[in-house]
Symmetry: C3
Subunit: 161 residues, 3 copies
């Protein structure tokens, strides 16, 4: 890995705000974290709108009982679960991808496309459902980008298996 | 970001045990990881106590069948899912928040309050359910702290959009 | 922590590909990320095979309706959720464990055993179900390793509580 040490910025500065690639990752990761937290809020909005609560202690209204499987609540919960399945592994994958010191233009555009795709995914899944293949395309965008990063990183570190 | 490099500790040492902020993050992240793993144990305890198993190969007792939707098991599973929805994004958000080299007192106290709040959340949700708003307050504490970190980081890295 | 700074590699280079421990973590984290993403693909395969779709806009075949709780689909989804519950906290725990600059042989073998155990877990849970205790052993392997790392890290950073 001596080739790496001779590059600018040196390997030891990759995880700092001196590295524009890390800055771009940090910005878009922040957007995705905020988006994910808002899914909890959206679930709460749906629960209050349709008065669907899963715990005895949450029954804020009289004459309601614990209820599950309401389609409006469950749609948001499926979208939220899909976020966890895809965005959380992406966070780690993109973070370690930075350690390979990739080309800045390529890396930043991957972060941008993947993140915007997930914003679109939430819109077409949980906010305003539209016909397929809108959701499939949004889903596949981040997944393919994560696989690409995985391939780059795996080839680079294969001898440490 | 040249201002950052002139500070002590320099940007390149932010992610090391030489940085007290990172140490504090590391300690409390470890507590939360252990707490999350114990949710699996708690789920298993409830499954054995009420003999509720979701897979054919898990039927350790005679005369039992696969069963779902037991309220005691599902309560722990909801608490565990809520952990994943909130703590896992917090791990990434707090980690990249450290890259902005925040004030040590502010940062450490944010980590402490957020982490203790989630311990309380588990107690009042999965271990010993108490009336609201106990759980809502515990939930909101980490969420607001994560949003605060997101705002700090997003403003700092906005030009890398 | 001055002892740490005097070691080779110095603390500031722990999170770079110059550190073989980090390389080993990176390789196996990449394998686990790819494995987790393939769970989504496996879920999709099961959904098409048994024509079980949870959203109105996903009904690609005539004469199908939204359906839930199909045992073939739900088994893969339980395995996927179990991945999220265990692998995602492991990613963070192992990452911060590296900051303690552990012995390379110990650390790398922990990463290898934990990762291979989760590959086995997926095989015996979602792909080809086998009798217990195969799944319990695979599950416990990564969990015990994560707890071990948590203990090492917590003892090292306890004074930052």
């Amino acid at each position: 890995m001596s080739t790496n040490s001779s590059q600018m910025p040196s390997a030891r500065e990759l995880y700092s705000l001196d590295n524009p690639i890390f800055c771009c990752y940090v910005f878009w990761a922040t957007v995705l974290v905020a988006k994910m937290l808002l899914m909890s809020t959206l679930t709460a909005v749906q629960r209050f709108r349709y008065k669907i609560f899963p715990n005895q202690e949450d029954l804020f209204f009289k004459n309601t009982e614990v209820q599950f499987n309401d389609p409006h609540v469950e749609r948001v919960r499926r979208a939220h679960r899909n976020d966890m399945e895809n965005i959380l592994p992406y966070f780690i994958m993109a973070l370690i991808y930075i350690s390979t010191n990739p080309d800045a233009t390529v890396a930043c555009n991957l972060f941008r496309v993947a993140s915007v795709a997930r914003l679109v995914h939430t819109l077409v899944y949980a906010v305003y459902p539209v016909p397929q293949p809108a959701r499939v395309i949004a889903f596949a965008s981040m997944q393919l980008i994560t696989f690409y990063m995985a391939a780059v990183v795996a080839l680079r570190t294969l001898r440490f298996i």
